[in-house]
């Protein structure tokens, strides 16, 4: 079938069922075989009468990023939706309630504000829902019904996902919701069927591939941690990391693990170190402000060589910053935060599938290299949903990666034995003949404190050698290009990379010669690979969601000239169009 690429928004006021409608839309489109990427935006205040918006991009091809223009707006509230008008594509379709529960002056209505090219699909959502189900509560589903009929989405797709969502609430609730949906669907079939513009392709569903699951980044992290054999989770509530704790609180106990809500982030990382020291896979998840509190104990993990897994779900900063907005501004803190020369591993997934995969990997890295591993995500990645084939780690990927001491050294065990790799076999309390004291003081091989010049130099070198050696187990940069010399090379990390890839793909379709490089291992990083890529590029562009260009600061020196920074501190994801525009200004005139 024809290529489909639609961005659909549901917009309403808190309490309208906006987020629920967006979720059902995503599930139905996923069930229809489309790729889905969704991202909700809602106010930091729980009952602030704020605006709720869900944005979903639906496509026949894999979706890497959100588009900045919306093709379809499903409005549940005129006043809130008016602010979305500037984001509408020229030929957008707008569904709205023609007889809303709250009266809107005609000239203030959404319909009066849109561009003339917009197709309006006004219908009495609340009235239809009330007539069908005896309540207007299902109005959001009536809206979806109208949309589905207009775009030719099979009714069954929605009925299936509505049933899945509401069946636990009893037949009465389920029945009312299906009736509400059907009322809108019937109305749409009768009145809207043939009014769809040619530019907006219908969505009858495509051939299904493997079974897919709809996951947010946070849920993928939670699943990854459980599949990796997580035993203990310690955490403190903070946006946007809290859903990980809540997911694990529901799921971990049945796997024999425990979730403990601690008194702060300091005790959370402390208990994680304690748990791993005692041999149990342990993790914590936080955001910037909590991560800042953890840094002392993270460097304790570095010095005492104790594993830990710390997820930093970045948000706007500094300080309390923008709690419900996205930013990639904790890279410096993750790589350099804390006292002393304290090398640690920092990795950054760039999509939902990678959130799962690299959470799983982080436990083995932490054990093998006896070090804190920091996984950097951000609000946009944590909260966006993608449909993906059900992720499943292999036995090998979750196996115990500890190196235990050999029996021959029983009684003469040296916990911090000097080795070529820097990795010293680690005993676990309970193992007989291998007792030792781990310490955050500088120490000799046996673990006793020692402050001599030569020892500190040697031990510091050992810890750095160990982390540098981890590079062989860390995901290497991935290049997307035709190869050879490139006019522009775009380097990115984390949630921004999807937008980069899309911009680069479009640029190449337009005949430009550009490439993209995805960096997952933030520290240590594959300097040789990155340098080789940069040296093939006339210009290097690094788009990031931070003001300082933090990744650029880290790798700038690898290049023979300055990299171009596209640094954005707006709290919103970077749209592909912005990157594309920058690429086009960098390509020398006449080049192709």
């Amino acid at each position: 079938m024809a290529r489909v690429d639609l961005t659909i928004e549901v917009c309403g006021m808190a309490g309208d069922g906006t987020i629920a409608a967006g979720g059902l839309l995503n599930e139905a489109m996923s069930a229809g075989g489309f790729s889905v990427l969704g991202f909700d935006s809602y106010p930091a205040e729980i009952r602030g009468f704020g605006r709720c918006v869900t944005r979903s991009r639906i496509g026949t091809e894999r979706i890497f990023a959100l588009e900045d223009k919306t093709n379809v707006l499903i409005s549940l509230d005129d006043v809130q939706s008016r602010s979305r008008v500037p984001y509408l594509a020229r030929d957008a379709a707008v569904f709205f309630d023609s007889n809303p529960p709250v009266y809107v002056e005609e000239e203030m209505s959404l319909a009066a504000r849109v561009e003339p090219e917009t197709t309006l699909f006004g219908f009495p959502m609340a009235d239809l829902a009330a007539a069908a189900a005896g309540t207007t509560r299902g109005r959001n589903l009536t809206a979806l019904g109208g949309f589905a009929a207009t775009f030719g989405v099979p009714r069954d797709l929605f009925v299936e996902v509505i049933t899945k969502k509401f069946k636990a609430k009893g037949n009465k609730v389920l029945d009312a919701n299906i009736k509400s949906f059907d009322a809108g669907y019937a109305y749409g079939l009768e009145h809207f069927r043939d009014r769809l513009r040619d530019t907006l392709k219908p969505l009858p569903g495509i051939k299904k591939g493997p079974e897919k699951v709809m996951l947010s980044g946070n849920l993928a992290i939670g699943r990854g941690a459980i599949d990796a054999g997580l035993k203990l989770y310690f955490g403190y509530p903070i946006t946007p990391a809290t859903p990980i704790m809540e997911y694990l609180a529901a799921k971990l106990p049945e796997r024999g693990g425990r979730v403990v809500q601690m008194e702060d982030e300091i005790s959370s990382i402390g208990a994680v170190l304690g748990g791993f020291y005692a041999g149990a896979r342990s993790m914590t998840a936080t955001s910037g402000p909590g991560f800042a509190l953890m840094t002392e104990l993270i460097t304790h993990g570095v010095m005492a060589e104790i594993p830990a897994v710390i997820l930093n779900a970045q948000r706007g900063g500094p300080s309390t910053g923008l709690p419900t907005k996205t930013e990639q501004s904790d890279l410096h803190a993750a790589v350099f935060g804390g006292p002393g020369d304290s090398p640690r591993i920092v990795i950054a997934p760039s999509d939902v599938e990678e959130c799962y995969r690299y959470t799983v990997l982080s436990f083995q890295l932490a054990e093998k290299y006896q070090t804190p591993v920091i996984v950097l995500t951000d609000f946009y990645l944590d909260n966006r949903v993608e449909n993906l084939p059900i992720p499943q780690a292999t036995e090998r990927e979750i196996a115990d990666a500890n190196e235990y001491p050999d029996e021959s050294v029983q009684g003469a065990y040296k916990r911090y034995l000097m080795t070529d790799s820097g990795i010293s076999p680690r005993s676990i309390p309970g193992m007989e003949g291998f007792t030792f004291s781990a310490t955050g003081l500088e120490h000799v091989e046996k673990g006793t404190p020692n402050y001599t010049e030569e020892n500190h130099m040697n031990m510091t070198e050992k810890r750095h050698r160990k982390i540098a050696g981890a590079l062989e187990d860390l995901p290497a940069p991935v290049e997307y290009s035709r190869g050879g010399p490139l006019d522009v090379g775009v380097i990115g990390w984390g949630s921004t990379f999807g937008a980069i890839l899309e911009a680069v793909n479009i640029a190449n379709e337009r005949g430009l010669n550009v490439g993209a490089l995805k960096i997952t291992s933030i520290f240590p990083f594959h300097g040789g690979v990155i340098r080789a890529f940069m040296n093939r590029c006339s210009e290097v562009l690094i788009p990031e969601l931070n003001y300082e260009g933090q990744l650029a600061n880290l790798i700038d020196h690898l290049h023979r000239k300055d990299v171009v920074r596209l640094s954005r501190a707006t709290g919103s994801p970077i749209p592909p169009s912005l990157i594309l525009k920058e690429i086009e200004t960098l390509v020398p005139a006449g080049a192709s």
Partner: protein, 268 residues
């Protein structure tokens, strides 16, 4: 009386045979001669020996300060963490492997100032760890600044006109926070330390051992050996440690009585 070399050798051998110092490592404690912490060390070793569990199934977690060095002086597994965080780290160790016997040790600065925020929560969480609080009312390792349990008016380089802050009472805090086992002890009574530690270690749930100790180097006026020996006395024989109200009364009325202050009846 002078001890001859032969007598000393015999004494060392007899100590070895008595297994009294079984839990001690070969490391020499870094504490000043005459420090009260030697008595606590002795009492803890004795307790661990009498517990009868192998040393590799015991973990001693500490923070920073003179007391923080404790793990190096035992043969158990040890974890010398950062300032103020022994209790949460010990919580992780115990939950990581519940078969381990876990001690958290630290001083009054470590546990009542920088780490004071953890005390309410370890009490209400009632994790089965044993917290030995070495209280000498001073920051020893940084050379004599006033601590949260120093008396008002204490003069030091950091408080040349005397401190103006009121001292806090760890025993009273633990009772208020709902700790399920609270004992107050004195570094000069090794036997009582061992006996009460043994009882508290067997107690299922969080146990606080608040131990008064002198700092012989930096405190010449308050918790000196002389004063402590004069002030400290056993709890009255009528004290019922299962009666929380009586425990509060006892602690509010008398700062210097030692023994098991409170013990929540155990659920079987």
């Amino acid at each position: 009386m002078k001890t001859s070399g032969r007598d000393l050798a015999r004494k060392v051998r007899s100590i070895g045979e008595s297994r009294e110092f079984e839990a001690r490592s070969g490391e020499l404690p870094t504490w000043c001669p005459g420090c009260g912490y030697f008595g606590i060390h002795h009492g803890m070793n004795d307790c661990i020996r009498r517990l009868g569990i192998p040393l590799h199934k015991v973990v001693t977690v500490s923070g920073i300060g003179c007391a923080g060095r404790y793990p190096f002086f035992t043969k158990t597994y040890g974890l010398h963490t950062v300032h103020g965080r022994a209790v949460p780290v010990a919580t992780g160790v115990k939950l990581g492997n519940p078969e381990l016997t876990v001690y958290a040790v630290g001083g009054d600065g470590d546990g009542l100032a920088i780490g004071g925020g953890h005390l309410p929560h370890v009490c209400r969480r009632d994790v089965d760890i044993n917290y030995v609080l070495f209280d000498n009312s001073i920051y020893g390792l940084t050379k004599g600044q006033p601590s949260p349990s120093s008396p008002m008016g204490m003069k030091s380089k950091a408080s040349p006109r005397g401190t103006s802050d009121k001292p806090i009472n760890a025993t009273l805090l633990a009772l208020s926070y709902g700790a399920s086992f609270v004992a107050r002890l004195f570094a000069g009574d090794k036997k009582m330390i061992a006996d009460v530690l043994l009882e508290g270690t067997k107690h299922k749930g969080f146990a606080l051992f608040h131990i008064y100790s002198p700092c012989v180097t930096f405190d010449k006026s308050y918790k000196t050996w002389e004063n402590l020996k004069k002030w400290v006395h056993p709890l009255p024989e009528t004290h019922d440690p299962t009666n929380l109200r009586q425990a509060f009364d006892q602690v509010l009325e008398d700062d210097w009585s030692v023994g098991v202050i409170y013990r929540r009846p155990q659920r079987e």
